[in-house]
Amino acid sequence: MTENQVVDLLAVFSDLAPAADAVEQLRAMGVHDDCMNVISGIPVTEAMLGRPRQWTNVPRIALGGALLGMGAGIFLAYISPFLYPYPIQVSTQSFVPGPPTVVVIFELTMLGMLLSTFLGVFLDSLFPNYRPMKYVPEISDGKIAIFVECPHVEEKKITDVLKKLGAESVKPAEAQHL
């Protein structure tokens, strides 16, 4: 193994506080935030761990879906009646009345927004993903794990620091089928 080669370490903590301390210490040792990732069995916020805010596209995708849904609603309610070869005019009723179109547009806007929110989670999280991935099943038992990418020469130093800060185990991370 050469000096420049990068290794992936996996440190498992039983509690939140030592994990947050470890993140802080790693950063002090020069490990960039992009070279760390935390996995947990409950949604631990970035602020609790002192990590940078995670970017998510879900709200934007939801907004896009809402606009698409609204467009579909407007098409159905306002445009589609004119596409019929023999438009049906019922007595003196307006051909495209206002209130019913509100109902159609509302339902399709909400459907568009919720469908795209759901798909947004899939797109942002790269779901479904059945390839081998770095993981430890203890996470779902409430443990918190930190993945650290570091140069091979730093491995021992980082392992010692993490153990000193309360890591239950520190080992090279290996991809496995979940």
């Binding site: 990732n37 935390v38 916020t45 998510t56 019929y84 009345p97 109902v103 909400m110 759901f118 779902s140």
Partner: protein
């Protein structure tokens, strides 16, 4: 003296921990084991007996009878002039009402951060999805020629049919489809971390099933962030959808100028009625889960029945208010046919149903749910829940077939006598329970990660001499 005081404080703390799930944490691994054990424990012979019986009822009463209805036509049902709308539509409204509890418990309580919701959001969300399946079946039964249901879809076609988007029935299609899809997605999103937990603890076919359903979830910061954002959007957005669904169902009636139906208050009246029956059904489900599944007495406690019991009491009062408001205005209006109809409700051959509705929806809940001790008893609150559902089914029966009996053409008046609708309706009830039984063996009914998150946020804190429950806001 000081020792006595110390003991009293300790026993107060112990009492609080016993009472509140959020103050009685167990290691996450142990909670996982309990949920997995409840799900994977081999079913007993009693379970199989009930499952087999329900499966028979579903096959014979729901599907075979439906086949008979399709083969022989709607004449098998009791619908005839003037009662074209019978039990199929009563059941449609009833099941859509049941489905409202899931969203109410899960979304509204999530938005308002009501902590007691945590252990039973999933059980309630399942009610929404399974209830809507029965509602869909019921409306298709009513449709008759169910094999051409796609004619309802708004798309240009060679038959030159263009569904009338001005009709409340088309709005129904859009609203129920939106609600079914969104509530199913809302059920699935918070299920992903629990399915991942089950994947990590399973072997064989279960492992493969959970592996597929978990989608490769690991619990990374990004995955939680996307999930949390999506669940917040769902919680806020699904509430107006829920309101729209039952309002639109009410417009199926209120948009017609029939005696008893033409009412501007039907929208909120139907929504409150839906919540009334939905909460009643939710409490029955919880009592059954607690009483029949392993370890569930740890997760579902008296405090949860107490909290839902309070909600049921408030909703019962709101329902009474809307009922009286609707009744008062119609009675005061003095329209000849409406007067006839109101008299028919109370003194007609099915007047007993009208009084039973008032008893089970108002008198019984008020008589029992005011008492905190009674309200914390799972079986007693479950009994009230069943009674409310019977009462709410009566209410829909009174609004639909009984009310269409009296119209402005007395020569058409005729009492509705149901036929094949009765066994088919029983079939939908059996199918609902059957789906629940199957789900209890296939997916974790308790959202363990949500429970653990709640337990992390709760603690006992001393204010002066008093020990009180304190909650931190983690998000």
């Amino acid at each position: 003296m000081s020792d006595n005081k110390h003991h009293a404080e300790q026993s107060h703390e112990e009492h609080l921990r016993e009472k509140h799930l959020m103050l009685d944490p167990l290691p996450r691994g142990q909670m996982n084991e309990m949920v997995m054990d409840a799900m994977t424990a081999p079913p007993t012979w009693k379970w199989w007996l009930v499952f087999g019986f329900l499966a028979f009822v579903v096959v014979y009463f729901l599907f075979y009878k439906w086949g008979v209805l399709i083969a022989k036509g709607q004449g098998e049902a009791g619908v005839m002039r003037p009662d074209y709308w019978g039990i199929f539509l009563v059941n449609t409204v009833f099941w859509i009402g049941i489905s409202h509890a899931g969203t109410f418990i899960s979304a509204i309580l999530r938005v308002f951060k009501a902590e007691f919701r945590r252990p039973f959001t999933r059980a309630a969300e399942l009610m929404t999805t399974f209830g809507l399946v029965q509602a869909g079946f019921s409306i298709f039964m009513h449709m008759g020629r169910v094999w051409i249901f796609y004619w309802l879809m708004p798309y240009p076609n060679q038959r030159m049919l263009w569904p009338n988007l001005h009709s409340p029935l088309t709005w129904d299609l859009l609203a129920i489809t939106t609600y079914l899809l969104s509530s199913t997605m809302y059920l699935f999103l918070p299920l992903i971390p629990d399915v991942a937990m089950a994947r990590d603890r399973s072997t064989g076919w279960r492992k493969n099933l959970y592996k597929v359903l978990a989608l490769g979830f690991r619990g990374t910061e990004g995955e939680w962030t996307h999930l949390r954002n999506a669940m917040n959007i769902f919680a806020f957005a699904i509430i107006p959808v829920m309101f729209s669904v039952h309002t639109i169902v009410s417009w199926d009636f209120a948009a017609a100028t029939r005696p008893g139906w033409s009412s501007t208050i039907f929208g909120p009246y139907f929504i409150v009625g839906a919540l009334h029956s939905g909460m009643g059904a939710a409490v029955v489900v919880l009592a059954v889960i607690r009483g029949t599944m392993k370890h569930m007495d740890y997760f579902v406690r008296g405090e949860h029945f107490d909290a839902i019991g309070k909600l049921m009491l408030i909703i019962s009062m709101a329902w009474a208010y809307f009922f009286f408001n609707d009744y008062m205005v119609q009675w005061y209006g003095g329209d000849k046919w409406t007067q006839q109809l109101l008299h028919f409700h109370e003194a007609g051959p099915l007047g007993w149903m009208w009084f039973a509705m008032l008893f089970t929806n108002i008198v019984l809940p008020w008589a029992i749910l005011w008492n905190p001790k009674w309200r914390s008893n799972p079986w007693l609150v479950g009994f009230v829940g069943i009674a409310i559902n019977v009462g709410m089914w009566f209410e829909r029966y009174i609004i639909i077939p009984i009310s269409v009996t009296i119209n402005r053409m007395p020569f058409t008046w005729r009492m509705y006598t149901p036929g094949i609708e009765v066994p088919m309706g029983i079939g939908t009830v059996a199918f609902f329970i059957l789906l629940y039984m199957a789900a209890s063996k296939l997916i974790p009914l308790i959202p363990v990660w949500e429970v653990q998150e709640g337990q992390m946020a709760h603690e006992l804190k001393k204010f002066g001499r008093e020990t009180v429950v304190s909650v931190s806001e983690l998000e």
